[in-house]
Symmetry: C2
Subunit: 215 residues, 2 copies
């Protein structure tokens, strides 16, 4: 297709900025995660529950991407940690330059953990390195256990799969074993957690995973 050469140029420019961000994170001892999912899979609520559980002196910050609104930043700001909204004005993913721009004037030396909530989209954000240490893909059980096969890119690249909204399992035709098997077919080493931000089930395991990564 005609756009491929330009796409490559855009991606390689993105990779250059992402590498600089990664080096910056390394220098300041910041662990950075890039959270990716479909719209409405529960990224923001998971982040709310995560921030809520941190002590007030936790050195965490959040960048949250959205196409149009700053709803998510307003939800997340209530927990007292630094939060910035990245509004993409129509773009279907975050890119490294947006992250670089929104980190300006933040005292990176005071941070230990940066959580980036991408735009709700299971496809496009996958290709854009943001300098993160790992990608986390969140799949709601309402979306169906076939999704790892249908959207393999993000499952291939993610270090962790969070199966979210497991409180809804009794009401939807979602086979957890099949979802796990499908994800491992795409990515044999992917780690998998089952979480409900509503009931709190699995949140401790998620917090433990997060702590284990930051060591």
């Amino acid at each position: 297709m005609s756009q491929v050469p330009l796409e490559r140029k855009v991606l390689s420019e993105n990779d250059r900025i992402a590498a600089a961000l990664r080096e910056e994170f390394r220098r300041h001892g910041i662990f950075c995660l890039n959270l990716i999912s479909s719209p409405g899979a529960g990224k923001t609520l998971l982040l709310e529950k995560t921030l809520e559980s941190f002590p007030a002196d936790e050195r965490v910050a959040v960048l949250t991407g959205d196409i149009q609104t700053d709803n998510d930043a307003r939800r997340l700001a209530r927990y007292g940690f630094p939060v910035r909204q990245i509004t993409t004005a129509g773009a279907c993913h975050l890119d490294a330059r947006m992250v670089e721009r929104h980190l300006a004037n933040w005292d990176l030396a005071s941070l230990g953990l940066l959580l980036i909530e991408n735009v709700g989209n299971l496809v496009c954000p996958t290709s854009y390195d943001l300098g993160e240490h790992a990608k986390v893909v969140i799949l709601s059980v309402t979306e169906g256990d076939d999704k790892p096969l249908k959207y393999p890119g993000i499952f291939h690249r993610a270090r962790l799969l969070i199966l979210s909204k497991i409180d809804l399992l009794p009401y939807v035709p979602f086979d957890i074993a099949a979802a796990r098997e499908n994800a491992r077919r795409i990515n044999p080493s992917i780690e998998i957690l089952e979480v409900s931000s509503t009931t709190g089930e699995g949140l401790d395991a998620w917090r433990a995973w997060l702590a284990s990564q930051r060591v």
Copy 2:
């Protein structure tokens, strides 16, 4: 951004092919819908229930888009109507050329209704005209009532919003009135139906809407 001029060129080339498709559909008396939603909002199940209800001599065909698999075409082919899978090999949306290519060798004169299931993505498919008469956006109640404001593009362009999976309403924090109001804020003339493909609720209204559009 540097990709804008090329994006414009790609979109205007797409518009040219879409206009030719639209003329072809008009000449053959085919009514064409483009169904767009997040991954797992229930497009394929709605299409299954739709095909299931048609008499055997209904002049309907389906094109179904997916990034990687032909699962959906296999599900839809069971109802005896012509179905073709469009596998985009990574692309996050269908474009008019893919539709044109997959209509080749089909006897269009024998068709009256063409249903196109787009790739699961609430952002990118919005910009690509496929020659359809109308776009239909499907929003599952598990995704949240704020989504029209967060992904305004598709809600602005769709003729119909289907609120899907309403059987799950007792278990999720989804305010139907707020969802309707948010959708109408973006698009005052959007029509709205509430459907559960699982219980069958609202399917008659969807079929009636479909019939009313084809007149």
